[in-house]
């Protein structure tokens, strides 16, 4: 496990916690100022209004009338328990009011301030305003804040309790969050570890369809692909071991014989010529195997560019027309119009050439071979159709395997690599080689998807349909 400070899970959880804590703080602040703040402002407003009213009403009347009015206010039962009034004579003596001590804080004049006062013998804090009366005395109007204070304390305590509880839940949540992430990543890491240790069959368990689930599916798919490639390499090694040993042994024996039995210049030169021919054949097989490996590595080459598939078909028909004539096979390009696709022209042409070569070779004299490209809704296809004997359905998936040959074709020249290469080339283009019954004959079709490059993985549904439509996929 990664140290706590380095853990992305911890950092995510912490970041999340800080964010939520900030949100709680802001919410509390808004709530506080929305309640206590508003109450405070209301009190200030009231005090100012009352003092203004009193000052205006008793502007030109004797101070006794003002004193009477204040007595009235203090005993009218409206807010009487919190109201503060005090009138002082110019000499500083109390004329009327419920304050026993003169608040020092209530200066400057005309402003609402908070101050300590003694109201009816009790020390308390209040908001009050001081005004100068026309006779030189002072009028104090205010509100006792003790009730306000207790409400505020209540609100703050409630908010603090709420925030505390939230923080505890939050901390628990963050821990759980971290634990979950580490659990999911742990699965991936454990699988990776087992694969590294050599168990290539391991896959990450996929329990859900969330981001981790999808990541796991992607990684599993990548592992499948790597597994396929490794199988391919193993297959090639086996194929080389089996199918190249024989011709190498043959060459060796021929040369050995030529050297041992009274070597004449003639026999030596004959043996050398024959060895060169055999070696050329081997080189050819090697080249084809390399070509398959290259195509199967799935690396999109730089040579991909837009090409007209019917043009490719026509070019290859014109390459093979003389051969077809010689074999009395009718070879025709039947595609119409331009069918464009981004392809490696040379690779695709070699695939088509290989299919035409097969068709001429296996369909035999008198056969009709048609080559053409067609556009479909989401793909393009280049087809080679013959009316020869075709390939029996059970054999069709096998003919794209390296070195696989049909029993009845073993007497014909070939190395059993042609269709493997065509299939590999189709897959390199993100498509597939489909072999179908042309009733009679064989319909070989290279289907290439359009509007999508092999680099961008198709979505799973599409991939599934692609897989189903290509029964000869090597896996």
């Amino acid at each position: 496990m990664v140290s706590v400070t380095q853990s992305i899970a911890t950092r995510l959880a912490l970041g999340f916690a800080v964010l939520v804590a900030e949100a709680i703080l802001v919410a509390s602040g808004v709530f506080y100022f929305g309640t206590i703040g508003v109450m405070d402002r209301r009190v200030d407003g009231k005090i100012t209004a009352i003092s203004n009213r009193l000052m205006e009403t008793f502007q030109n009347r004797p101070v006794e009338e003002l004193a009477k009015q204040i007595e009235l206010e203090l005993h009218d039962g409206i807010d009487s328990d919190t109201e503060i009034f005090l009138v002082l004579s110019p000499s500083g003596e109390r004329v009327v009011g419920n304050l026993t001590a003169v608040p020092e804080a209530a200066r400057p004049l005309g402003q609402v301030v908070t101050g300590e006062v003694v109201r009816e013998g009790k020390r308390t804090s209040g908001r009050l305003i001081a005004r100068q009366l026309p006779d030189g005395g002072y009028l104090y109007v205010g509100r006792d804040l003790s009730e306000q204070r207790s409400i505020r304390d209540l609100v703050i305590r409630a908010l603090a309790a709420g925030a505390g509880a939230s923080l505890i839940v939050l901390a628990g949540g963050a821990l759980l969050f971290r634990h979950q992430i580490e659990k999911r990543i742990g699965q991936i890491r454990r699988t990776a570890g087992r694969i590294e240790a050599g168990d290539l069959k391991q896959r990450i368990p996929v329990a859900s369809d969330d981001e981790f689930g999808r990541l796991s599916v992607d990684i599993n798919r990548m592992l499948d692909r790597i597994g396929q490639l490794m199988d391919g390499v193993r297959h090639v090694s086996n194929a080389i071991a089996h199918d190249l040993r024989t011709p190498l042994g043959r060459i060796r024996n021929k040369l050995d014989e030529a050297v041992r039995h009274g070597a004449t210049a003639g026999s030596l030169s004959e043996a050398a010529t024959s060895a060169i021919e055999d070696i050329d054949g081997l080189i050819l097989v090697f080249e084809k195997l390399l070509q398959i490996a290259e195509a199967e590595s799935g690396v999109r080459t730089r040579s991909f560019e837009a090409a007209d598939l019917n043009r490719v078909a026509t070019d290859m028909v014109e390459l093979y027309d003389a051969t077809a004539e010689e074999q009395r096979v009718s070879l025709k390009a039947t595609g119409e119009g331009a069918v464009l696709a981004a392809v490696d022209r040379n690779l695709l042409a070699s695939a088509v050439a290989s299919l035409i070569d097969n068709a001429i070779k296996y369909a035999g004299p008198g056969a009709i071979v048609q080559v053409g490209a067609y556009a479909q809704a989401r793909s393009v296809a280049i087809e080679v159709r013959d009316n020869g004997p075709g390939i029996p359905a059970p054999e069709r998936p096998r003919v794209t395997e390296r070195f696989y040959r049909l029993d009845h074709s073993r007497h014909l020249p070939g190395n059993g690599l042609g269709l493997s290469i065509v299939s590999a080339i189709a897959r390199l283009h993100g498509g597939a080689l489909q072999l179908e019954d042309a009733a009679p004959g064989l319909l070989a079709r290279i289907v290439l998807p359009i509007g999508q490059t092999p680099e961008v993985a198709p979505d799973p549904a599409e991939r599934e349909s692609l897989r189903q439509s290509s029964p000869m996929r090597c896996s």
């Binding site: 080459t301 040579s303 070019d315 390459l319 051969t323 040379n346 070699s350 050439a353 290989s354």
Partner: protein, 226 residues
């Protein structure tokens, strides 16, 4: 003809040098890129044959690039074990005139060297090709053997044109595939032999002397004298 060979594999180098010397070339061989670059840029050559992968810092393609930077148009034949189409395209794009994959037959190399040397010389009359009584008109696409007009399909016309442009020289099957069908892959069948045989039926069968000659194990040569 002065020929510079830059190839680090001693056997391959000897194979090329001996063959070219036998064919009458004056050959200098270098076994590393630095010497090769020195000789290639400081002396004048009719043709360069070089390997792509060379020991030291200087590889084959950088020699070609340097040469082209200096404005030298000496024909360059690249010989390489990097055989994928991408690598070929890169070799040709970087200034190589032709690309030959290893392993190769010496005859293929010689044919390509000769073709490059011919290409370096300008054609005298680009509209009319003539070998013995065979005439090919590039403007009207007409082919005459003596007074007889011969009907050829477009590809056959291009095949014959290529053979006639290389009159007296050996052209290999691969060279024909590349030049006539633009196929940079080896179909590994006898398609070219069959194409030649059909062309022969049209221009040689009813006439004398035969103009298209098979060079065993190598390819074909078109010439009036057998």
């Amino acid at each position: 003809m002065r020929c510079l060979v830059i190839e680090d594999d001693a056997d391959t180098c000897r194979y090329i040098r001996n063959g070219l010397t036998e064919a009458g070339y004056n050959v200098l061989a270098c076994d590393n890129g630095l010497d090769g670059l020195h000789h290639a840029t400081n002396e004048s050559w009719d043709i360069l044959i070089l390997d792509r992968l060379l020991p030291g810092q200087v590889d084959g393609l950088s020699i070609v690039a340097k040469l082209r930077d200096l404005g030298k148009s000496t024909p360059v034949l690249i010989v390489s074990a990097l055989t994928s189409i991408d690598e070929r395209v890169r070799g040709l794009r970087d200034g190589g005139d032709d690309y030959l994959s290893k392993p190769f037959a010496f005859s293929e190399l010689l044919a390509r060297v000769e073709a490059l040397l011919r290409r370096a010389r300008p054609l005298r009359d680009p509209t009319q090709l003539r070998v013995a009584d065979l005439a090919l008109d590039l403007r009207t696409f007409r082919v005459l053997r003596g007074a007889t007009a011969i009907a050829l399909q477009p590809r056959e016309f291009r095949l014959l044109e290529y053979l006639m442009r290389n009159e007296g020289q050996v052209v290999t099957r691969t060279m024909l595939l590349e030049a006539v069908w633009d196929c940079h892959f080896d179909p590994q069948t006898n398609v070219i032999d069959v194409q030649i045989s059909r062309l022969r039926n049209k221009i040689d069968r009813d006439f004398s002397p035969a103009l298209i000659h098979t060079v065993r194990g190598v390819g074909y040569r078109l010439s009036a004298d057998g």
